[in-house]
Amino acid sequence: MTELKAVSPAAGLLPLSIGGVTLREDEMRPLTLIAPYKGQEAALAKALSAAHGLSWPAAGATSANGAARLVWFGRNAAILVGVQAAAKLAKHAALTDQSDAWSCVVLEGAGARDVLARLTPVDLRDGAFPLGATARTEVFHMACSITRLEAESWQIMGFRSMAKTLVHDLKTAMEGVAARAL
Protein backbone atom coordinates (compact mmCIF):
# COMPACT_ATOMS: atom_id res chain seq x y z
CA MET A 1 0.00 0.00 0.00
CA THR A 2 1.18 3.52 -0.78
CA GLU A 3 2.25 5.50 2.25
CA LEU A 4 3.51 8.98 2.88
CA LYS A 5 7.03 8.87 4.21
CA ALA A 6 8.11 11.30 6.95
CA VAL A 7 11.31 13.29 6.46
CA SER A 8 12.90 15.29 9.27
CA PRO A 9 13.82 18.95 8.68
CA ALA A 10 17.59 18.43 8.89
CA ALA A 11 17.61 15.02 7.21
CA GLY A 12 21.02 14.31 5.74
CA LEU A 13 22.65 17.34 7.36
CA LEU A 14 23.36 16.09 10.88
CA PRO A 15 24.97 15.01 13.17
CA LEU A 16 28.19 17.00 13.19
CA SER A 17 31.07 16.92 15.62
CA ILE A 18 33.76 19.59 15.44
CA GLY A 19 36.31 20.11 18.15
CA GLY A 20 34.58 19.39 21.42
CA VAL A 21 31.16 20.45 20.20
CA THR A 22 28.47 18.32 18.63
CA LEU A 23 25.34 19.29 16.76
CA ARG A 24 22.53 16.80 16.34
CA GLU A 25 18.97 16.91 15.20
CA ASP A 26 16.45 16.30 17.93
CA GLU A 27 13.90 13.58 17.25
CA MET A 28 10.63 14.83 15.78
CA ARG A 29 8.34 15.31 18.74
CA PRO A 30 4.91 16.86 19.09
CA LEU A 31 5.04 20.65 19.27
CA THR A 32 1.91 22.60 20.10
CA LEU A 33 1.80 26.35 20.33
CA ILE A 34 -0.47 27.40 23.18
CA ALA A 35 -1.79 30.96 23.28
CA PRO A 36 -4.28 31.65 26.08
CA TYR A 37 -7.45 33.48 25.17
CA LYS A 38 -8.39 36.74 26.84
CA GLY A 39 -8.71 36.36 30.57
CA GLN A 40 -8.10 32.61 30.39
CA GLU A 41 -4.55 32.64 31.72
CA ALA A 42 -5.48 31.32 35.17
CA ALA A 43 -7.89 28.71 33.86
CA LEU A 44 -5.31 27.55 31.35
CA ALA A 45 -2.63 27.28 34.02
CA LYS A 46 -4.93 25.10 36.04
CA ALA A 47 -5.82 22.91 33.08
CA LEU A 48 -2.14 22.57 32.14
CA SER A 49 -1.28 21.51 35.60
CA ALA A 50 -4.07 18.95 35.67
CA ALA A 51 -3.44 17.57 32.20
CA HIS A 52 0.34 17.65 31.97
CA GLY A 53 1.67 18.56 35.39
CA LEU A 54 3.16 21.73 33.93
CA SER A 55 3.03 25.31 35.08
CA TRP A 56 2.67 28.24 32.71
CA PRO A 57 6.22 29.57 32.18
CA ALA A 58 7.16 33.15 32.89
CA ALA A 59 8.81 35.10 30.07
CA GLY A 60 12.18 33.49 29.33
CA ALA A 61 11.45 30.36 31.35
CA THR A 62 10.47 26.74 30.81
CA SER A 63 8.65 24.17 32.90
CA ALA A 64 9.15 20.46 32.57
CA ASN A 65 7.54 17.25 33.71
CA GLY A 66 9.01 14.01 32.44
CA ALA A 67 8.89 13.97 28.66
CA ALA A 68 6.76 17.10 28.57
CA ARG A 69 8.33 20.52 28.43
CA LEU A 70 6.58 23.84 28.15
CA VAL A 71 8.80 26.50 26.64
CA TRP A 72 7.94 30.20 26.71
CA PHE A 73 7.74 31.11 23.04
CA GLY A 74 7.11 34.83 22.85
CA ARG A 75 4.40 37.24 23.78
CA ASN A 76 1.40 35.42 25.23
CA ALA A 77 2.57 32.02 24.01
CA ALA A 78 4.36 28.86 25.02
CA ILE A 79 5.15 25.74 23.04
CA LEU A 80 4.44 22.33 24.46
CA VAL A 81 7.17 19.91 23.52
CA GLY A 82 7.21 16.14 23.74
CA VAL A 83 3.56 15.24 24.32
CA GLN A 84 0.30 15.80 22.48
CA ALA A 85 -1.61 18.70 24.00
CA ALA A 86 -4.69 17.63 25.90
CA ALA A 87 -7.81 18.51 23.91
CA LYS A 88 -9.46 20.26 26.81
CA LEU A 89 -6.79 22.97 26.76
CA ALA A 90 -8.47 24.26 23.59
CA LYS A 91 -11.21 25.75 25.70
CA HIS A 92 -8.77 28.20 27.24
CA ALA A 93 -6.19 28.72 24.53
CA ALA A 94 -5.61 28.63 20.81
CA LEU A 95 -3.72 25.40 20.14
CA THR A 96 -1.73 25.28 16.94
CA ASP A 97 0.12 22.20 15.81
CA GLN A 98 3.72 23.17 15.04
CA SER A 99 5.26 19.69 15.06
CA ASP A 100 6.48 20.08 11.49
CA ALA A 101 7.18 23.81 11.54
CA TRP A 102 10.44 23.86 13.44
CA SER A 103 13.83 22.37 12.93
CA CYS A 104 15.04 21.36 16.40
CA VAL A 105 18.75 20.88 16.88
CA VAL A 106 20.85 20.41 19.98
CA LEU A 107 24.29 21.94 20.38
CA GLU A 108 26.41 20.30 23.04
CA GLY A 109 29.90 20.42 24.43
CA ALA A 110 32.37 22.55 26.29
CA GLY A 111 32.56 25.22 23.58
CA ALA A 112 28.83 25.29 22.77
CA ARG A 113 28.29 28.65 24.37
CA ASP A 114 31.23 30.14 22.48
CA VAL A 115 29.69 28.84 19.26
CA LEU A 116 26.35 30.47 20.06
CA ALA A 117 28.07 33.72 21.00
CA ARG A 118 29.11 34.02 17.35
CA LEU A 119 25.52 33.88 16.21
CA THR A 120 23.19 35.38 18.77
CA PRO A 121 23.18 38.79 20.44
CA VAL A 122 21.58 37.36 23.58
CA ASP A 123 23.49 37.34 26.86
CA LEU A 124 24.30 33.67 27.47
CA ARG A 125 26.22 34.04 30.74
CA ASP A 126 25.07 31.84 33.61
CA GLY A 127 23.52 34.74 35.49
CA ALA A 128 21.45 35.85 32.53
CA PHE A 129 20.76 32.45 31.02
CA PRO A 130 20.61 29.74 33.69
CA LEU A 131 19.57 26.13 33.14
CA GLY A 132 16.03 25.98 31.83
CA ALA A 133 16.12 29.54 30.51
CA THR A 134 14.84 30.21 27.03
CA ALA A 135 14.85 33.12 24.63
CA ARG A 136 13.34 34.10 21.33
CA THR A 137 16.16 35.79 19.50
CA GLU A 138 18.25 35.95 16.40
CA VAL A 139 20.64 33.21 15.32
CA PHE A 140 22.71 34.92 12.65
CA HIS A 141 19.93 36.12 10.34
CA MET A 142 17.14 33.91 11.61
CA ALA A 143 14.44 34.23 14.23
CA CYS A 144 14.98 31.29 16.56
CA SER A 145 14.25 29.92 19.98
CA ILE A 146 17.17 28.98 22.22
CA THR A 147 16.71 26.92 25.36
CA ARG A 148 19.41 25.86 27.81
CA LEU A 149 18.77 22.18 28.45
CA GLU A 150 21.93 21.41 30.43
CA ALA A 151 24.98 23.39 31.44
CA GLU A 152 26.55 22.71 28.07
CA SER A 153 23.55 21.67 26.03
CA TRP A 154 21.42 24.11 24.08
CA GLN A 155 18.34 23.47 22.01
CA ILE A 156 17.93 25.71 19.00
CA MET A 157 14.69 25.86 17.05
CA GLY A 158 14.61 27.50 13.65
CA PHE A 159 12.12 27.55 10.79
CA ARG A 160 11.97 24.20 9.09
CA SER A 161 12.57 25.70 5.64
CA MET A 162 15.79 27.28 6.91
CA ALA A 163 17.26 24.12 8.43
CA LYS A 164 20.10 24.03 5.93
CA THR A 165 21.09 27.61 6.68
CA LEU A 166 20.84 26.98 10.43
CA VAL A 167 23.16 24.01 10.17
CA HIS A 168 25.51 25.94 7.89
CA ASP A 169 25.72 28.89 10.28
CA LEU A 170 26.24 26.70 13.32
CA LYS A 171 28.85 24.62 11.51
CA THR A 172 30.78 27.70 10.45
CA ALA A 173 30.81 28.96 14.01
CA MET A 174 31.78 25.54 15.35
CA GLU A 175 34.74 25.42 12.97
CA GLY A 176 35.84 28.87 14.05
CA VAL A 177 35.72 28.01 17.73
CA ALA A 178 37.43 24.66 17.23
CA ALA A 179 40.21 26.19 15.13
CA ARG A 180 41.07 28.65 17.89
CA ALA A 181 41.84 25.86 20.29
CA LEU A 182 44.52 24.41 17.98
Binding site: G60, R136, T137, E138, A143
Partner: protein, 90 residues
Protein backbone atom coordinates in the same frame (compact mmCIF):
# COMPACT_ATOMS: atom_id res chain seq x y z
CA UNK B 1 21.66 50.62 20.89
CA UNK B 2 19.87 48.44 23.41
CA UNK B 3 16.16 48.29 24.10
CA UNK B 4 14.64 46.98 27.30
CA UNK B 5 11.78 44.79 26.13
CA UNK B 6 9.30 44.44 29.01
CA UNK B 7 9.12 40.70 28.32
CA UNK B 8 12.61 39.74 27.12
CA UNK B 9 14.75 42.19 29.04
CA UNK B 10 17.45 44.35 27.50
CA UNK B 11 18.23 43.30 23.95
CA UNK B 12 20.38 44.48 21.08
CA UNK B 13 18.53 46.81 18.73
CA UNK B 14 19.17 44.45 15.81
CA UNK B 15 16.26 42.34 17.08
CA UNK B 16 13.81 45.23 16.66
CA UNK B 17 12.28 47.22 13.87
CA UNK B 18 10.95 50.73 14.02
CA UNK B 19 7.57 52.01 12.94
CA UNK B 20 7.31 55.65 13.87
CA UNK B 21 5.52 57.78 16.41
CA UNK B 22 3.17 56.08 18.85
CA UNK B 23 0.46 58.34 17.49
CA UNK B 24 -0.29 55.44 15.17
CA UNK B 25 -2.11 53.79 18.07
CA UNK B 26 -4.77 56.52 17.92
CA UNK B 27 -6.59 55.35 14.85
CA UNK B 28 -9.43 57.71 13.87
CA UNK B 29 -12.97 56.47 13.80
CA UNK B 30 -14.66 55.35 10.61
CA UNK B 31 -16.43 58.66 10.13
CA UNK B 32 -13.40 60.86 10.74
CA UNK B 33 -12.80 63.69 8.31
CA UNK B 34 -10.09 63.51 5.67
CA UNK B 35 -8.15 66.15 7.58
CA UNK B 36 -8.09 63.89 10.62
CA UNK B 37 -6.90 60.99 8.49
CA UNK B 38 -4.25 63.20 6.94
CA UNK B 39 -2.96 64.06 10.41
CA UNK B 40 -3.03 60.45 11.52
CA UNK B 41 -1.22 59.17 8.47
CA UNK B 42 1.25 61.88 7.67
CA UNK B 43 1.74 64.72 10.10
CA UNK B 44 4.31 64.29 12.85
CA UNK B 45 6.20 66.59 15.16
CA UNK B 46 9.92 66.38 14.47
CA UNK B 47 10.98 66.51 18.10
CA UNK B 48 14.52 67.22 19.24
CA UNK B 49 14.10 65.57 22.61
CA UNK B 50 11.90 62.96 24.18
CA UNK B 51 9.40 61.24 21.95
CA UNK B 52 7.18 58.14 22.04
CA UNK B 53 7.97 55.57 19.40
CA UNK B 54 6.67 52.26 18.21
CA UNK B 55 9.13 49.40 17.97
CA UNK B 56 8.43 45.81 17.05
CA UNK B 57 10.40 43.00 18.63
CA UNK B 58 10.53 40.96 15.39
CA UNK B 59 13.36 38.67 16.33
CA UNK B 60 12.23 38.34 19.90
CA UNK B 61 8.82 37.94 21.49
CA UNK B 62 6.75 39.60 18.76
CA UNK B 63 5.56 42.45 20.97
CA UNK B 64 4.77 45.89 19.71
CA UNK B 65 6.35 48.36 22.10
CA UNK B 66 5.90 52.00 22.96
CA UNK B 67 9.34 53.32 23.81
CA UNK B 68 10.26 56.68 25.15
CA UNK B 69 13.41 57.83 23.39
CA UNK B 70 15.39 61.03 23.31
CA UNK B 71 16.09 61.78 19.67
CA UNK B 72 19.11 63.87 20.60
CA UNK B 73 20.92 61.48 22.93
CA UNK B 74 19.29 58.22 21.79
CA UNK B 75 18.63 57.48 25.44
CA UNK B 76 15.63 55.28 26.12
CA UNK B 77 13.18 55.92 28.90
CA UNK B 78 10.26 53.70 29.77
CA UNK B 79 9.45 50.92 27.33
CA UNK B 80 5.93 49.52 27.53
CA UNK B 81 3.86 46.93 25.73
CA UNK B 82 1.73 48.70 23.14
CA UNK B 83 -1.18 46.57 24.23
CA UNK B 84 -0.89 47.84 27.80
CA UNK B 85 -0.65 51.43 26.60
CA UNK B 86 -3.69 50.99 24.38
CA UNK B 87 -5.73 49.26 27.04
CA UNK B 88 -4.87 51.92 29.60
CA UNK B 89 -6.27 54.54 27.25
CA UNK B 90 -9.46 52.63 26.53
Amino acid sequence: MRIACPLCGERDSREFSYKGHALALERPGEDASLAVWDDYLHNRENVAGVTQELWFHDFGCGSWLVAERNTVTHEFGAVKLAQDVKEARA
